[in-house]
Symmetry: C2
Subunit: 332 residues, 2 copies
């Protein structure tokens, strides 16, 4: 970590934030750190907060942003990242609370990185925390989380009644219904950021930059573990993007060993998307989409009939337009 002392008022610093995701034991995990300078952003005296790993850009040495990211991640964590994609650039004023004390404006370019399944030692490793510790309403694998009906829905209802509907803006009540699947609306796993932003606007989640000073903030208990700065927002962005991406790009295979059973693949997708899938149809889908091919070898330790081991068919990339959908009616 470099020391970034406060500079002159109109100065700007570029940071690179990494959301590094792995899945172990059907739990999607993100690598977090504590005790860095982010830890200065404590939450009402409750001690240092978790933060996403962060690295600076060295304009003299780093040729590209992505290479800079790979570099310091390898240095600091020893991880060699596989799949890396740029997520979003966050630049709101005061997103780093230190700005208020004269610190530089920090622009963070956030990246999403996927790494292969951690070895069984993973769960206990410091830093690999469940993504659902931070965003607990996102995991619907065991059914609709009680948290939503017990805490979030009532709180949002109160907020939307209090907030006067502004003309030209969508009705806050409807926004809540759509985002959280209330009142019969369907649950859309991809709207992670929309949900987080709604909770943020309603003052139901903590975020360092704003809620330390917002007197209306009434964080609901159990709405997830807080993070430093706007890192929970960054995490929400990452999860939403990842959930969307697995639908039309074969990114999940980045997180699997070279061969795997179809149930392993399914559990991985379920862990990330937060919903359960229909087993037979899932198999059919991935098989007839040509995404995988059998190896003829079998995994015996399933607890039942041995499962065939499959591998990812890289060729699918040139056969299918994009393992997913298409425009309504393209003429040829």
């Amino acid at each position: 970590m470099p020391d970034r002392e406060a500079r002159s008022g109109d100065d700007v610093v570029i940071g690179l934030d990494a959301v590094i995701v792995a899945v172990t034991d059907e739990v999607p995990r993100v690598l977090t750190v504590t005790g860095t300078r982010h830890a200065l952003a404590t939450s009402a005296g409750r001690g240092p907060l978790d933060a996403l790993p962060f690295g600076p850009l060295d304009p003299c040495r780093d040729v590209t942003l992505e290479r800079a990211l790979r570099g310091w991640v390898a240095e600091q964590t020893g991880l060699e990242l596989g799949y890396v994609e740029q997520l979003y650039t966050f630049g709101d004023r005061y997103r780093d609370p230190a700005e208020r004390a004269g610190g530089p404006r920090v622009i963070s370019v956030a990246y999403l990185a996927l790494v292969a399944e951690r070895s069984p030692a993973g769960p206990g490793e410091p830093g690999w925390r469940s993504i659902y510790d931070y965003l607990p309403w996102e995991d619907w694998r065991e059914g609709r989380p009680a948290l939503i009906d017990e805490a979030i829905a009532p709180a949002l209802a109160g907020w939307s009644k209090a907030a006067p509907p502004r003309p030209g803006f969508p009705d806050p009540r409807q926004r809540a219904d759509i985002a959280f699947g209330l009142e019969g609306a369907p649950w859309n796993p991809e709207r992670v950021l929309e949900r987080y932003e709604l909770l943020f606007e309603a003052g139901l989640v903590e975020e360092a930059g704003r809620h330390a000073r917002d007197p209306r903030a009434r964080p609901v208990p159990h709405t997830g573990r807080p993070m430093a700065q706007d890192h929970r927002r960054i995490l929400a962005t990452a999860l939403g993007r990842l959930r969307g991406k697995i639908r039309y790009r074969p990114v999940v295979f980045e997180m699997l060993p070279p061969t795997f059973t179809l149930l392993q693949l399914q559990r991985l997708v379920e862990a990330l998307s937060g919903v359960r899938l229909h087993k037979q149809n899932f198999r059919r889908l991935v098989e007839q989409a040509g995404l995988v091919e059998g190896t003829g070898r079998y995994e015996p330790a399933t607890g039942g009939r041995p499962a065939e081991l499959f591998r990812f068919r890289r060729e699918v990339l040139r056969e299918r337009p994009a393992p997913g959908v298409g425009l309504p009616g393209v003429l040829r």
Copy 2:
């Protein structure tokens, strides 16, 4: 425009680049400027190049990046942007050729903005150029562009033969086939950036930061109008993103008047995606997806039977999960 004089070697500057898109006469257009400081990046003495409008971030005043963008666009062009979305952050070294002369590292946060159809005065307006002037291989509305088979395919074939296949990297020949729909591979309108990057790697398009110095660069004639710096790459990113987005978000309605005929809507989508669509199926799709509703009024000047005027149904946003697709088999 601020003056950004060269500073100390490790300095960084944040810029905001705007890809502002409108459609007139079934031509998708992008707003470009010349004569700004970008114009310094001339192309082998051929005069100033087109550039995307660019504005600085003022860390003291601008509260968010997006607001900064809206601000200077309104100031400089008088345009009030409607839909705005962050695209990507470009930060490669030397993407601004001025860096080689000691200029600061310029990190550009690029935004995509959509504005309503220009009035008929549009086509002649300075700056509103067809996107396909810059990326001519992307327009398949009149069938497969001759340019691809006559110039691009042979040039790529030559390049891929020359470039030795690196182990671990995808075969360059196959990349070309997939990207450009050669050898029977399907054409995917969304792979705009992939195609541009392939042409760039093969040295077939000009880009200021690199090809001014790359001796192997043999730009093929008629591969589109060049732009300053890496702006053509930014444009390609924008077009690809836009093409993808219209499939699952109703963004096109941002570019239409409040009421429109279904053919207008179809022509708009065709202009952006660069392919022709089946008329009857297109109607059915947008109608039964609940995206539009008839107004009962009619547009008489169609040249044939009058067409009903439709309007966008905003309610669709809360009915459908996302006007598009879904995960393979979500259990309820």
